[in-house]
């Protein structure tokens, strides 16, 4: 791993930790749901990063799964909070 990778990893880790801090602190459910959404987006970046540094590009499929499906979980809770289904 080069120095650029370490910088990238540090920035992404700080983002993940901040999202978790919001999920721990958040006074309401909606704050926690937004924290989960941010955390999911950051995690997709981490999946692609791991595929790069392990030098196996077929790992990107896992990131595709989360990128395609993660919003459904947030949509479920959002629809429930607004009395959707």
């Amino acid at each position: 791993m080069s120095i650029l990778d370490w910088i990238y990893l540090a920035i992404v880790s700080i983002g993940a930790v901040l999202a978790v801090v919001r999920m721990v602190k958040g006074p309401d459910v909606t704050n926690r749901v937004v924290g989960l959404d941010v955390f999911t987006t950051i995690t997709v970046a981490l999946f692609v990063f791991f595929a790069m540094i392990f030098d196996r590009y077929i790992y990107i499929d896992v990131a595709l799964v989360y990128g395609l499906l993660a919003f459904i979980g947030v949509l479920v809770i959002a629809r429930f909070i607004e009395r959707g289904f």
Binding site: R56, I58, Y59
Partner: protein, 113 residues
């Protein structure tokens, strides 16, 4: 090493939830944590240092530098089974709530202890 410790503690947290908590949905969440911890433990047993995934999609990859495929194959099906039996457990919880009108296991008469 960190994986072992994390999965032990996750199993302990799940057991604590199942034993101490009174709410039925919380108990189901605890069961889910135990299942996740056991899956993580089994996969981390098969890990080999500096190994790679057991997929021969690249030219010139060496079988001796791969992780063990059997724990992965075991947990792969276990995760799907966990999700389906979670649905069954939630169905039981819903029926218990309709019958007794509460989620507190202290108030459900036949489960008192």
């Amino acid at each position: 090493m960190s994986y072992y410790l994390g999965s032990f503690l996750l199993i302990a947290i799940g057991l604590y939830t199942v034993i101490i908590k009174k709410n039925l949905i919380k108990i189901v969440i605890g069961l889910n944590f135990i299942a996740s911890g056991v899956n993580l433990l089994i996969v981390s047993i098969g890990y080999v240092k500096n190994g790679t995934a057991p997929i021969f999609s690249k030219i010139g990859i060496n079988p001796s530098a791969m992780v063990d495929p059997i724990p992965q194959a075991l947990t792969l099906t276990a995760i799907v089974i966990d999700a389906s039996e979670l649905a069954l457990a939630v169905a039981f919880v819903v029926l218990l709530y309709r019958h007794y009108g509460t989620l507190d296991i202290k108030k459900i008469r036949s489960l008192k202890w």
